[in-house]
């Protein structure tokens, strides 16, 4: 009987391909838009994720998200160190100074200042140089975006100079950064030097980076830091999600993408559903004949679901491959880096597609179930 169902499906070539393309493009649209949305949201947490050696961030209790910080006092590092369960704590500075090249090109950059002694937080994925080079005088590490902005179409060489707040800095390393939300260049310097690259403020300590002692969970140490110092402590993941929630709640990005995804979902469901419905209606005679020879309703339902699954599987495979191919092609572009087809999105799209084809097929199933076998014998 399953063989009959497959034959029925591919027998009508136009409708068969139409169904597959409806599902494939619906899949592509949904997974692609979801990936771009997730990528943009993920970008807001790039600098949090790029710091791979500390798992807890301590900040002012009123901090909403990563890009807007209120400075702590220098002593807060020592207060955090005094909290039981803290293995170590080091300062981290984050600022937005303006970098100038000597040809007059300028750009606001994300300046990260890492602890002078330990360099906790320094980038490790370097194209040229090493994190230890930060110890050199006036050293900065710049990401590829920054380098290519200031020295476009030039080979990567170290030792070039830029100007930051009237200070001359030397590029001692070029690294791969995760793209920030605004895709600003990312610079790293030592904490003591980074402070001099921004204007005068009284307090400049942005974050305290903490590592929990062995055997204690990060969330437990966060709770203890909060209780002991009155500051807000969050794990990297929590802080990342906090930042994402801020952007979701305060920008139009989710609405925009949400509408696109919803339309993809609706169009996919309606086109596939309608095509399937017409397909089933046209095959009513065949179903009637099957019923007339004694095939049960259950069996017929199974046949229709099999057809739906087949269409869904083929359409989904093609659609998801299109999305994967898109991000494979754009992978090399620096400005589009960080957009990755997450497996969660692929799986979620699969589930939605399954739902679409099931819903579409079930819309037409009713007609078959109430069908009188006698209809076959009428005109």
């Amino acid at each position: 009987m399953n063989f009959v169902a497959v034959q029925m499906l591919i027998g009508d070539r136009a409708k068969y391909l139409g169904l597959i393309f409806a599902v494939a493009f619906s899949t592509f649209l949904m997974s692609h838009q979801s990936t771009i949305f997730a990528g943009i949201m993920d970008r807001t947490t790039s600098q949090i994720k790029d710091i791979k050696d500390a798992s807890i961030w301590v900040m002012d209790p009123k901090t909403q998200y990563f890009d807007e910080v209120k400075a702590l006092t220098d002593d807060d590092v020592y207060r955090v160190r005094g909290v039981p369960g803290v293995e170590w704590a080091v300062p981290l500075f984050k600022g937005l100074p303006r970098a100038k090249a000597f040809d007059g090109n300028f750009r606001v950059v994300n300046m990260m200042g890492v602890d002078d002694a330990t360099l906790v937080g320094a980038p490790r994925d370097l194209v040229l140089g090493s994190p230890e080079d930060l110890r050199k005088p006036d050293a900065v590490l710049v990401d590829r975006v920054g380098y290519e902005f200031f020295f476009p179409k030039q080979p990567y060489v170290l030792g070039r100079t830029l100007e930051l707040n009237d200070h001359r800095v030397t590029i001692q390393g070029i690294f791969n950064s995760s793209a920030p939300f605004q895709n600003l260049p990312v610079f790293y310097a030592r904490y003591s030097q980074a402070l001099t690259y921004v204007g005068r403020e009284r307090n400049l300590l942005s974050f305290v980076l903490v590592k929990a002692q062995r055997g204690l969970s990060d969330s437990e140490v966060c709770r203890r830091i909060g209780a002991a110092t009155g500051l807000d402590a969050a794990t990297s993941q929590e802080f990342g999600w906090q930042t994402i929630r801020y952007y979701v709640a305060h920008t139009g990005i989710p609405v925009n993408f949400g509408i696109t995804i919803a339309i993809a979902l609706m169009v996919g469901t309606i086109v596939a559903g309608q095509t399937f419905y017409i397909f089933t209606l046209e095959n009513l005679k065949q179903f009637g004949a099957l019923k007339a020879i004694g095939v049960t309703n259950w069996r017929i339902t199974g046949m229709i679901l099999l057809q739906a699954l087949m269409v869904g599987a083929i359409g989904y495979s093609i659609g998801i491959a299109m999305t994967a191919a898109f991000f494979e092609i754009t992978k090399g572009n620096l400005d589009l880096r960080g957009f990755v087809l997450f497996w969660q999105i692929a799986a979620g799209t699969g589930a939605v597609v399954l739902f679409i084809v099931m819903a579409a097929s079930l819309m037409s199933i009713r007609r078959v179930l109430v069908l009188e076998p006698a209809v076959v014998f009428r005109g």
Binding site: D74, D75, Y78, P84, V86, S317, I318, A324
Partner: protein, 348 residues
């Protein structure tokens, strides 16, 4: 074709997608820091930043008077004993004044000597001769009067002559008395009050000399304690200001043992108990833990001194300073920063 081709194509497409998805998933592996940060030592601890200083605390050498530096006798790193000469200021004007005062002293002394030695021996014979002369003159007038009085017949002499001779005797007598008195005065020497005045003048001149000498000695700056010269920022030819300076001329201290001055945030101050042990680590070498021994708590909580050195900073927190001693031979330098963990009690 459509019967098998499409499913096969779909299967290939799905395989491609799965491979790409698997390969591009972001990895969030945790890494170790490039250099190990100072890590927790005690179960209950207070973190602080410590500044290494000399056991005697760091002494910023100052001077009582400003002046031009002419000689510097030490350099950074020298170990000096107490009272050793550190540097000297220009003393030419005071040396000139000293010479002047010394000559004044000599003058006063000579004057006193002269007064003490009077009468001058050569003055006596003329005075004695004068007495003798007056005596002879008196004798002469007395003889003349005698001759006149020995005349019996008073008519032979004029009464006027007799009167004149009598008066001449009296005058000669008075002159003799005067000569004798003058001789006596001469022999008596200097009057005592005059001598006293001269002695006082000598003393005054000597005090003047001593004052200039004291001024001169103030131009030589010496070590107040035995210790090590930590910093020498004074050079010959420079003008040295008196009073406290932002950049001390010479910084010294007793560095046989070093102390650590730990700044503890006032919010954590209550957790530090007197006598608490502590551990310090040098920045850049956290593997080497230095034991710290409690010395004392500074009883006054002071505003945090920010190491950025910005003078316009407002105070936002105050710190309790606790002094700890380092073991002798610890490989740290005065002025170095340590990350300090103070034991706040409790189980590890």
């Amino acid at each position: 074709m459509i019967k098998y081709g499409l499913p096969i194509f779909a299967a290939l497409a799905l395989t491609f997608a799965v491979i790409k998805i698997v390969h591009t998933q972001p990895v969030h592996a945790k890494l170790m820091p490039p250099a190990a940060p100072p890590s927790a030592v005690y179960a209950n601890q207070v973190g602080a930043v410590g500044l290494v200083e000399a056991e005697s605390e760091n002494i910023a050498i100052s001077l009582p008077v400003p002046g031009l530096v002419t000689r510097v006798d030490v350099q950074a790193g020298d170990r000096v004993r107490k009272g050793a000469r550190l540097f000297s200021l220009d003393d030419r004007d005071l040396q000139a004044e000293l010479a002047l005062r010394q000559s004044s002293l000599a003058l006063a002394e000579t004057r006193l000597e002269k007064l003490a030695m009077s009468p001058r021996p050569e003055d006596l014979p003329p005075a004695e001769a004068k007495v003798r002369e007056s005596e002879q003159l008196y004798q002469d007038t007395a003889v003349q009067l005698n001759l006149m009085e020995s005349v019996r017949d008073k008519r032979a002499i004029r009464d006027e002559d007799l009167q004149r001779r009598r008066l001449a005797v009296k005058a000669a007598e008075a002159r003799l008395d005067q000569a004798k008195a003058e001789l006596a005065l001469l022999k008596a020497g200097t009057w005592k009050p005059d001598l006293d005045i001269a002695r006082a003048e000598v003393l005054e001149a000597r005090r003047q000399v001593e004052r200039v000498e004291a001024d001169l000695s103030r131009l030589v700056v010496t070590a107040p304690i035995a210790g090590e010269i930590l910093q020498c920022k004074v050079h010959p030819g420079e003008y040295a200001q008196a009073g406290p300076l932002a950049q001390p001329l010479i910084l010294m201290g007793a560095t046989a043992r070093l102390n650590v001055r730990a700044d503890i945030d006032e919010q954590d101050a209550w957790r530090v108990k007197s006598g608490a042990t502590a551990t310090g680590t040098v920045r850049g070498n956290t593997g080497d833990r230095l034991p710290l021994h409690f010395v004392r708590v500074e009883p006054y909580v002071i505003p945090k001194r920010n190491l950025t050195g910005d003078s316009t900073e407002r105070v936002d927190t105050r710190v309790l300073q606790v002094i700890f001693a380092l073991d002798p031979g610890a490989r740290v330098y005065a002025g170095q920063q340590l990350d300090v963990f103070v034991d706040a009690g409790g189980q590890k």
